[in-house]
Symmetry: D2
Subunit: 334 residues, 4 copies
Amino acid sequence: MRSIGIGVIGAGVMGAEHARIIAREVSGAHLAAVADADPARAEAAAHGGRAMTDPEALIADPSVEAVLIASPDATHQRLVLAAIAAGKPVLCEKPLAVTTQDCLEIVVAETRAGRRLVQTGFMRRFDPTYRELKATLEGGTLGGVRILHCQHRNAAAPTWFTGEMAITNSLVHEIDVCRWLLSTEYRTVTVTPFLSSDPKTSDPSLFLFETDDGSLVSIELFMNAAYGYHVHAEAVCERGTVGMAHPAPVRIRREGSQSGGYPENWIPRFRDAYRIQNQAWVDGIHNGVPAVDGASAWDGLVATCLAEQIIEAKATRQRTTLKLPHNPSVEAFS
Amino acid sequence: MRSIGIGVIGAGVMGAEHARIIAREVSGAHLAAVADADPARAEAAAHGGRAMTDPEALIADPSVEAVLIASPDATHQRLVLAAIAAGKPVLCEKPLAVTTQDCLEIVVAETRAGRRLVQTGFMRRFDPTYRELKATLEGGTLGGVRILHCQHRNAAAPTWFTGEMAITNSLVHEIDVCRWLLSTEYRTVTVTPFLSSDPKTSDPSLFLFETDDGSLVSIELFMNAAYGYHVHAEAVCERGTVGMAHPAPVRIRREGSQSGGYPENWIPRFRDAYRIQNQAWVDGIHNGVPAVDGASAWDGLVATCLAEQIIEAKATRQRTTLKLPHNPSVEAFS
Amino acid sequence: MRSIGIGVIGAGVMGAEHARIIAREVSGAHLAAVADADPARAEAAAHGGRAMTDPEALIADPSVEAVLIASPDATHQRLVLAAIAAGKPVLCEKPLAVTTQDCLEIVVAETRAGRRLVQTGFMRRFDPTYRELKATLEGGTLGGVRILHCQHRNAAAPTWFTGEMAITNSLVHEIDVCRWLLSTEYRTVTVTPFLSSDPKTSDPSLFLFETDDGSLVSIELFMNAAYGYHVHAEAVCERGTVGMAHPAPVRIRREGSQSGGYPENWIPRFRDAYRIQNQAWVDGIHNGVPAVDGASAWDGLVATCLAEQIIEAKATRQRTTLKLPHNPSVEAFS
Amino acid sequence: MRSIGIGVIGAGVMGAEHARIIAREVSGAHLAAVADADPARAEAAAHGGRAMTDPEALIADPSVEAVLIASPDATHQRLVLAAIAAGKPVLCEKPLAVTTQDCLEIVVAETRAGRRLVQTGFMRRFDPTYRELKATLEGGTLGGVRILHCQHRNAAAPTWFTGEMAITNSLVHEIDVCRWLLSTEYRTVTVTPFLSSDPKTSDPSLFLFETDDGSLVSIELFMNAAYGYHVHAEAVCERGTVGMAHPAPVRIRREGSQSGGYPENWIPRFRDAYRIQNQAWVDGIHNGVPAVDGASAWDGLVATCLAEQIIEAKATRQRTTLKLPHNPSVEAFS
């Protein structure tokens, strides 16, 4: 099996991590190039591959057979379209694009290209814990899902973080992974924020979704949960429940208590998920079929499109019906 | 310290359990009499005390110095009023009475009597786990509460159980214990039931409350959760969370897994709570002051009054403002 | 049911706790008197009962129908014999007496009295967690026990504590509760201490027992475990295991981890066990038969007798055969 | 970075798994060839690489730059020596060789070759849970180790398994990983088997080691633990403990209990460990230095040499001093 040359665009925290994974942990691929506006940062992340400053030059480079985009959100759409135009598979960090319309243009372009080239980087679908959850639900011993309770907790949001960003940057992970877990779509949402004296920081918020199959999805989003980064889900079913165990591999007894730690942020929590996602993406390129469970361009659109509507629903605090546009790729890729 | 003679009214499952607790586990009291319409059932529960069929004769009996009511719900109000009229302390199983107006008459009668005679049997306030939760919240290390997540799960509801009964018989425990935990009142409620093909059994339901101090209380009520009886609460605070541990004292490894059991129903789960509640009630009679943390007649009214409004809010699925009448006892007992 | 007058001898930490339990938490009994050489201490523990300084006067007092001994170890034998001579039931804190010979004299005296009057205060037999462990083992689903792993950990031993005292004061609890759990006797012991640079503090130590039914009992005794008071047992059986869950009722998430607390010492850990033991003792007096599962005088002798041999085995570090004297009570009480 | 051609010898359960890991999950290497006496089995495991029947031809093949040995134990020594003679790095499944003398010949040969070519496949050193345990111990917050408690439990041993094989095949993992965790050597061992009516199956057994730094290592080896495959370790230190959490990522509530599963055997439990070990081995070849924490040929010898002595100590049930030969590689590789 030959090795596929990967080009990574963006060498910030996530881009550097993706470059490391491709260079050091993924079989069947190598890191051909890294592009970043800051040449030193590109160089530091290149692991001996080429360091570039122009992302479009990277996409065009013959040594780059597939593209991984981890640049700022606003650049995603343009670069994904360029990769599609070049006929190169592309794995794009979420969000796929920052508006529904921009996402739709990607779906249309990929549909015209006639084959699946785009994977949206919703890595939770490859997290072993989420996969065990889904396998248990699909195993059938618990019966149908009634309620999916989720908590997404960050230790602390940056000071410049807004309530909108909490939805477009963090909640989108929950939006995607819950519809993937349940294999259904959302029908309505009701948002209930905690109302503090400082209205800017209405944090945490509760998001309650009703789905097409009747189940309820209840999500707590807490950007300043203080104690650590903690993502949790529990599915309550007809005949029982399945939920995530504490993620730490050891328990320490010290100073009056037994404890298990939480990571500071998402990188250690989802390190395996990123590696498995990137390996599955590379395997899919070798096999000529998209990664099983990989989020498509349409899945990327759904997340962005719902986030827009959820932001409005938060302002009204009313139960709001959610809508999706027609999916132009549905006949092409089925 | 002399022993107080207790009369128990009702010798069904809970009445017999209360009689056993008074006779066998409570210090400073003895079981003077048990009344039940079925004389054999009264006799079986009397532990050597008198067995009677007429509850009003029991209340009037000189050997009965305090009354514990565990008869059918519809009889509560009349019997509590009779105990007040007799000047005898009374511990009444929930609900205190089946309508707000009936509860209000009790509050008025007790206020006129000029001293606290009524305790409503919300035994969760005496459960060691709930008390540890409240002590942690009040200890202050976690900061203010943002969200209180609760689950109330029964293994299976009787076939004659209705959605209304789930609220008036089960949710009332959550209504009471959460406002006691948070020391606040509810301002609004939104009810979102799971909508099955059979609309009678809209089970489970989610109840979302906003409180006067801004926090959110999210309660799952699932009367047919299948796997066992399970009551859980987790408070999410500014600087951390506190939640209930699994209630079983041992873990068994067998046939491929490690497991901890759940009880079949509320009696083993809250056995300690009932004993501690009844001891605190007896201690309060000795001391001439109500049990610390005991639910008052007013607390009983609040639960019944809110249950009525929550039943209406469930029908509309709308965010509904909750209201309480004037508390006539507030100046008398402060 | 009439109330039995209890006299408590000793008003130190454990004596005062026993007096409180009798006065406030046990049904069918009252605290008639407390004796302590320090009259102020006796008074403080008496809960309105009589305060005395002479333990023999307490035993002789007609208001005292049963005696609970929590005085210094060296006084136990004399006081137990006095209670037997007075024909009054006696619950004696461990150790029953400080030498095998002294214990044997108690067993002989009780046998001559012709009825069971003595219960040794091995309260772990009444701890709900140990009882659930035993019930699981006897339920039979796990098959025969192969190994019983135990840990006994104190946060810190007093500076005057010796390795011998660790055996006579702490290990005796393990000696008793494990033979009660397994319903067997020990055949051999091998002691392996941690050997520090300071030979006085050979702490922790491992004690390995072989029993008559072939199973192994492995006990870690750590008097300076630093993190808290922690008693744990896990039985490894033919078809599975059963072990103790973490004892705390809540879990706190704060500062990077989720934790469950340990108590500082044995009193909160075994509060329920003491209450249930004392209630069972009182119930036994009412019923005229010893408390089910209560440790007899012979059980008290076994613990003292084995502790003596284990101290010798620790010095040699050799596998040592354990022996018990003839039990003179075995025909009398069967 | 160029890709290293790996040859895998043996295509049984473990060999096929190693071949899959090299072919599909390891970066910087590819599966060049698989050799097995059964050509169909070799073919099935080759993932498109060459399938061979002669292991020595595989070692000699120019496309094979490094060798991974997973053939029957008795062949290990000859094949490792052949790889050393060919100057090719070799990763050999445990045991390195079946006698101390055979291991010693490997150590001598490697020493003569003048560079580290041999890694013994003690994969637990790369398991994330064991690594977290070691990192915690070395972090220093818990102080020195006093006792290391370990359990090694298999669901069921094959019928042809003997007590000796339990030591040479299973206990060797514990022998290696515990001395790696503690960075010390064993000084004595005492073996205490459960003695059943059938003396052949003296299972489980307890192994108690004293180490050079004074700590105690207590290992339970239970080849027929029935409930699943379960490896556990807890280090008891001066200021606290650290132990392994339950390995499953989810908890299921069903039929009266909450449970977390155990794997059937070691492959799912140590899947990550094998992958990380093999990646570290490949990275080491690229870097020209042995994998950090990789078990050396000497480590392989120590495990085999101690297993021989432990088998004798089990027969005597006596505390036995453990000895190691002079390490001829100690000056060469330091």
